[in-house]
């Protein structure tokens, strides 16, 4: 960092795009006739998506969460704290897993209701796959750190998602579709993939 700082001071770092917004960079890319996939690549964070790889300190099982729900829908509190803001301060509220046969639209409306009504929830995610098909029961957050193996898994998942979204011709219609990894599973070393956001 210091070396770069020094180079900047010496005027040796040239950043021709630094003043441009993403859409302007894309206009420029189109004008330079760069390949479409390159120009319209979704933004993604470095290094190597590692910021989307969550860790865990203790073992903590998912908890029941009492609230009125439509028939056929169940919820469970996932004890990861996702970043949000409540009142004056940055808060880390919980993720709520939503289980039931819901389409994206209905799930989204329900998520809005839940986050509006319950300040302890700032993120709602629909369970779209569960090994053995057992909802979210029996899952727990396990201790995990940032390891090459976990980041590799996340990158593989991200690549899969990108391919599938491209295959369905939706890539350009979506602005960004982040894939995250949380150490939520039946045992230590087991993982959950979170799609979107």
């Amino acid at each position: 960092m210091e070396r770069i700082q020094k180079l900047i001071e010496q005027g040796k770092v040239i950043e021709p795009l630094v003043e441009l917004y993403k859409d302007e960079v894309r206009v420029l890319g189109e004008q330079l006739r760069l390949p479409h996939e390159v120009v319209w690549r979704h933004p993604f964070p470095g290094p190597g998506l590692a910021v989307r790889c969550l860790g865990g300190e203790h073992t903590a099982p998912v908890e029941p969460f009492a609230m009125a729900l439509p028939a056929g829908v169940s919820v469970a509190l996932v004890p990861v704290r996702t970043v949000g803001v409540q009142g004056d301060e940055r808060s880390y509220s919980n993720l709520l897993a939503l289980d039931g046969a819901l389409d994206a639209e209905t799930a989204g409306a329900l998520a809005r209701r839940i986050t509006n009504e319950h300040r302890s929830i700032n993120r709602v995610a629909l369970v779209v796959y569960r090994r053995g098909g057992r909802g979210v029961d029996g899952l727990a957050i396990h201790p995990a750190t940032l390891t090459p193996a976990r980041v590799a898994l996340l990158r593989e998942a991200d690549d899969l998602v990108t391919r599938i979204v491209r295959k369905h011709g939706l890539y350009d219609a979506i602005w960004q579709f982040p894939v995250a990894l949380i150490p939520l599973g039946e045992a230590s070393g087991r993982e959950t993939i979170v799609l979107g956001r």
Partner: protein, 454 residues
């Protein structure tokens, strides 16, 4: 996630087949026990309101410097009358007791008529802070929003004149999608102004949020310090409880980049909080004022903090900061703009100082527009009844003035031969009725007002 402008972000609604495909493929990864699909929307997050104060010293010197009224085209729902009634905090030194405490900020394009109203109402005249200055960027080439939207306030009478000049030039010379001011112009009219570093979209905030460790933000802030004077440039600390604000300015006191920066550079801080509603309650109803549709996915605020807080509330929010906030934002003597003859001429006397007169005027305009036809057939009756209902809604919601503004725009546009104005809508509306007979269109005034905003 989908976003048109990076400010609002809806989660991507994928077709069920795609979700299934994703789930199946990811399930093939041996370590994966579950796949979740985040269905939370991220509401927009760029609304800012300002305040500068010295809560650690005394509430007596507190004044809101940045409040959005219902005339703010941004999102304000704080009605002028209510703001005056509530009158949070005592006035600035030099401020007359019968004057309001909040300078009302015009965000982007406050219609001139509405401003006329600010001028006309003696209670609202003082401390009006119209400064929105935006950069035109490099000489000869206008860049979108490259330079900061700043909050500028007049400290002195020449400062007020400078502020007015900046605003005028922003419209006359710097208009590119919205009125802008570049740094050169800003420097020419810097005397007597008090400047806040601005919201998340401002130059300095943006540099900070890029988390670059270089001198960028400090240099940018340094320029303003130099031009406006150290004591008259404030780093704006915003805390409405938005993620981005936490990153740039707020959250954990020890990690407030703008605080640290300010301390390091001996900059002054201004605290910026709440304020597009006059009162804390009614948070849930605020979006209704902005979008009356039944769309379940319509825009929501991500925080309930956008109300005009009292001095005590502001102070409470700051106690968590162990360093305390540096001195009072100072420089803040109320400036009483003298009404010169030219100022008076911009404000037609007929344009109603109070809500009552707004209502009366819109009623008489409506009558004027609707009176001629003496037809008594069912359609005419229905139309008259519909118009009366619409007028009642407009009045009740406090939009009589706004409606007149729109009406005036349309009337002018039509008179000047432009084919603009409201699109024909299903409702044979009041705006239609108000238009000159030969220009009548079926239109919906509320929608018309909204479409002219965008």
């Amino acid at each position: 996630m989908n976003s048109r402008d990076g400010m609002t972000a809806d989660f991507a609604r994928l077709p069920a087949a795609v979700v299934d495909d994703l789930a199946t493929s990811l399930a093939a990864l041996p370590a994966v026990d579950a796949v979740l699909y985040d269905v939370t929307n991220k509401p927009p997050a760029t609304i800012e309101l300002g305040v500068s104060s010295s809560p650690m010293q005394s509430h007596a010197e507190f004044v809101h410097l940045h409040v959005h009224s219902e005339y703010s085209l941004l999102d304000g729902a704080a009605q002028l009358e209510k703001l005056v009634e509530e009158g949070q905090g005592p006035a600035l030194p030099g401020h007359r007791a019968d004057r309001p405490r909040q300078p009302l900020r015009r965000h982007r394009l406050l219609p001139r008529r509405a401003e006329g109203r600010h001028q006309a109402d003696p209670r609202l005249r003082a401390l009006r802070g119209p400064g929105r200055t935006e950069g035109a960027g490099l000489a000869g080439r206008r860049l979108r929003g490259r330079q900061p939207p700043h909050g500028a306030r007049a400290r002195t009478r020449p400062g007020y004149r400078n502020l007015i000049k900046l605003v005028s030039k922003a419209y006359l010379e710097g208009f590119y999608y919205k009125p802008r001011v570049d740094k050169e112009l800003l420097a020419q009219h810097a005397d007597g102004l008090l400047v806040l570093s601005g919201c998340l979209n401002s130059e300095v905030s943006r540099l900070i949020s890029r988390r670059r460790r270089d001198a960028g933000p400090s240099e940018a802030a340094g320029w303003y310090q130099e031009v406006f004077g150290k004591d008259h440039y404030f780093m704006e600390v915003q805390a409405h409880g938005l993620d981005e604000q936490v990153q740039v300015t707020g959250g954990d006191a020890r990690h407030r980049p703008s605080h640290r920066r300010a301390r390091r550079r001996d900059q002054r801080l201004a605290l910026s909080r709440g304020g597009s509603r006059a009162r804390p309650r009614g948070a849930a109803l605020h979006p209704d004022r902005l979008d009356a549709s039944n769309d379940p996915n319509r825009w929501q605020f991500s925080t309930e903090e956008f109300y005009v807080k009292s001095a005590e509330e502001m102070a409470r929010g700051l106690r968590r900061d162990p360093g305390g906030l540096p001195q009072h934002a100072g420089g803040g003597r109320a400036v009483q703009p003298r009404r010169s003859s030219s100022a008076a001429s911009t404000c037609r006397a007929t344009w109603c100082p109070t809500a009552t007169r707004w209502r009366a005027t819109s009623r008489s305009c409506a009558r004027e527009g609707l009176a001629p036809p003496l037809r008594r057939d069912a359609r005419a009756t229905r139309s008259r009844r519909g118009s009366a209902h619409e007028l009642a809604v407009i009045e009740k919601m406090g939009f009589a003035g706004y409606f007149l503004v729109v009406w005036d725009f349309i009337r002018y546009a039509r008179a000047a031969g432009h084919r603009g104005g409201p699109r024909p809508r299903l409702v044979g509306g009041l705006a239609g009725g108000l238009l000159p007979r030969h220009h009548q269109h079926r239109s919906h005034p509320i929608r018309a007002a909204r479409s002219s905003d965008s």
